[in-house]
């Protein structure tokens, strides 16, 4: 499956002419865009938009899904592992936070690291035996994992999950004595976490670790044969993704104040999977765009309530046929060579541009 994706990718992505113009937007515009985005709550307040709270909630939901999808992107996008059970790790994080808060009276923020670690540990335990599975086989087992979690939660496992009703009355997070309760507060909390996630995962992607995942995705046999411990890296990618999903679980639990097994079902996992694939597997920009489209857009079309899923499905099918690499597929990584090599290749910074040049030479 993944091979056909790549084949299409290399055929259909137009080669860029000339080098050095890869940015969609120049840096100042990007910064301005981010600044405007972060002042949305202020703008809403100044303009007195009547449905402001509703739209802020939508943006908060988009942000939460973005964090989840970015964490799935490490597993699915970079390492190429078909994990359709990501909601399971999200659930572990949310329930750990809820239980620690409700039963033991921990503050929400202090549960955050524990929730992440619990989700990571859970991932290490369940993924260990299945990490060697390829493609669709892994996908099926991960569906099993998310179902096991949902059913265990429903059956009130260990008597702490509250059964099908879930857990209620989870506290709001407090930062330096400031209680985060209103949608605009959550907006900043969630989107700052999104920004941190994007930064850290960007660094992760552009490192030895991130490269190892890309090699594994491209050809696991060659990667192992050139000295990469493929099993270890795949497992680590899984655990990192799960830890982040656990963090998202903490945010979710304190935002909703009530969690129940129904929120962590198979459909959630499919949704996250879709965000990554549709947005652009392996590309953070793509995943962010995917979150807006898949979570935000349906809110705009609430009017079509009944046909929403139909339109959605059709859009996905069309995407898979005409742009299987996603809306914003990842760009080739750019390297800044240290001296004395920095004089080299100044005539074209983009590898794709140089590919097209060399083709002309042939």
């Amino acid at each position: 499956m993944s091979f056909s994706f790549k084949g299409l990718l290399s055929d259909r992505v137009p080669l860029e002419e000339g080098g050095g113009k890869e940015r969609i937007l120049p840096l100042p515009l990007t910064i301005a865009g981010i600044a405007i985005f972060f002042s949305i709550p202020v703008i809403f307040k100044v303009t007195g938009l009547s449905s402001a709270m509703y739209w802020l909630e939508v943006l908060n939901t988009v942000g939460l899904y973005a964090i989840l999808a970015l964490s799935l992107n490490v597993i699915l996008g970079h390492a190429g592992m078909f994990n359709m059970g990501h909601a399971a790790f999200f659930a572990v994080g949310a329930y750990v936070t809820a239980i620690l808060n409700l039963t033991y009276g921990w503050s929400i923020l202090s549960t955050l690291p524990v929730a992440g670690l619990a989700a990571g540990l859970f991932a290490a335990i369940v993924a260990g035996p299945i990490i060697h599975l390829r493609g669709d086989y892994l996908l099926i087992v991960t569906i099993g994992i998310v179902e096991i979690i949902r059913i265990s939660l429903t059956n009130n496992i260990f008597g702490v999950t509250g059964g099908p009703n879930g857990l209620m009355g989870i506290a709001r997070p407090t930062i330096f004595g400031f209680k985060i309760a209103r949608p605009q507060h959550f907006f900043y909390l969630i989107w700052i976490v999104v920004a941190i996630t994007v930064t850290l995962f960007y660094w992760l992607e552009n490192s030895r670790f991130g490269r190892a995942l890309k090699f594994i995705k491209e050809d696991p046999v060659a990667a192992e044969g050139i000295g990469i411990n493929t099993t270890r890296y795949k497992l680590m990618a899984f655990v990192v993704g799960a830890i982040w999903a656990g963090f998202a679980g903490t945010l979710y639990a304190s935002r909703m104040r009530t969690i129940s097994p129904g929120s962590f079902n198979f459909e959630e996992s499919v949704l996250l999977f879709t965000i990554v694939i549709l947005g652009g597997s392996g590309s953070q920009k793509g995943v962010l765009l995917g979150s807006f489209l898949i979570i935000g857009l349906p809110e705009l079309f609430r009017g079509f309530q009944n046909s929403r899923l139909l339109v959605f499905g059709a859009a996905l099918v069309i995407m898979m046929i005409f742009r299987p690499q996603g809306l914003l597929p990842p760009k080739p990584q750019r390297y800044k060579l240290p001296p004395p090599w920095d004089k080299m290749g100044q005539n074209g910074n983009s590898s794709q541009a140089k590919v097209s040049l060399s083709k002309k030479d042939d």
Binding site: K6, A222, M236, M344
Partner: protein, 255 residues
């Protein structure tokens, strides 16, 4: 000094005996050729050394370590790296990144250093880019560092695979048909490259069908037929060996 010793290694695939009790030794600093007719089991021997397939019987020792049961990445770390008969680069990634994949096993920084972009990770990254470029320069591909590996000409892809193997800082490189698909000029350049690899105190083992090339670059040649060693010696000795001639040309029918 003995670097690699193969003791009675055996591998069967179903009913087919691919390698049958093959024994050989490789000394440090040598260039050793492994030749034989198609299906003799040469590539299987390479796969057994590098751990891509598991031994059925026998032992492989490499500079004091037994390689039995080790996974390929551990064997690379011990100092054996290889190229593949059918080129196995990462075709959608850049030439530089392909070499960086070889550098991986000599790097230190882990997950924590990467995700928090620590100074030591950045220092290492800079150092490794320099190393990778040196390897590309060594095989003459430095100017093509930013091309997609899959877009390179065939001969260049072979050389890139060698650069990637050398980036693992091996004691022994195993080249599976390095001259395969190369024209005469490229093969000649490859001869020089292998000389230079030897000068770096890297031992070379290679499979090749181009006999002129083998006789030219190898110090010693091992000849395989039907999974077993049938002859061993300098290129001159091998060329005269009746068993080798028989294996390649068949036996004349006697009336």
């Amino acid at each position: 000094m003995l670097l690699l010793s193969l003791n009675n290694i055996t591998k069967t695939f179903g009913g087919l005996v691919a390698v049958a009790g093959f024994s050989a030794r490789v000394n440090r600093g040598e260039v050793v050729g492994l030749i034989g007719p198609n299906g003799a089991g040469k590539t299987t021997v390479f796969n057994l050394i590098t751990g891509s397939i598991k031994l059925d019987a026998g032992f492989v020792f490499f500079s004091g370590h037994s390689l039995s049961g080790l996974r390929p990445h551990r064997i690379v770390k011990l100092g054996i790296s290889r190229t593949f008969q059918s080129i196995r680069l990462f075709p959608h990634m850049s030439v530089l990144e392909n070499v960086l994949s070889g550098c991986h096993c000599r790097m230190q920084s882990g997950l924590f250093a990467a995700i928090f972009h620590l100074p030591r990770q950045r220092r290492e990254e800079k150092m490794v880019l320099n190393n990778a470029m040196n390897e590309l320069d060594f095989v003459g591909l430095a100017s093509k560092w930013n091309l997609k590996a899959g877009s390179l000409a065939y001969g260049d892809q072979r050389r890139l695979e060698i650069a990637r193997a050398l980036a693992t800082e091996p004691k022994l490189v195993i080249l599976d048909e390095p001259a395969g698909g190369m024209n005469d000029k490229e093969t000649e350049a490859l001869t020089g490259l292998i000389e230079n690899i030897r000068k770096r105190d890297v031992t070379v083992m290679l499979i090749e069908h181009d006999m002129r090339f083998v006789m030219h670059v190898c110090d010693r040649v091992l000849v395989m037929e039907n999974g077993a060693l049938i002859a061993e010696g300098t290129p001159e000795e091998i060329q005269k060996d009746p068993k080798v001639i028989e294996a390649y040309l068949g036996v004349g029918e006697e009336d």
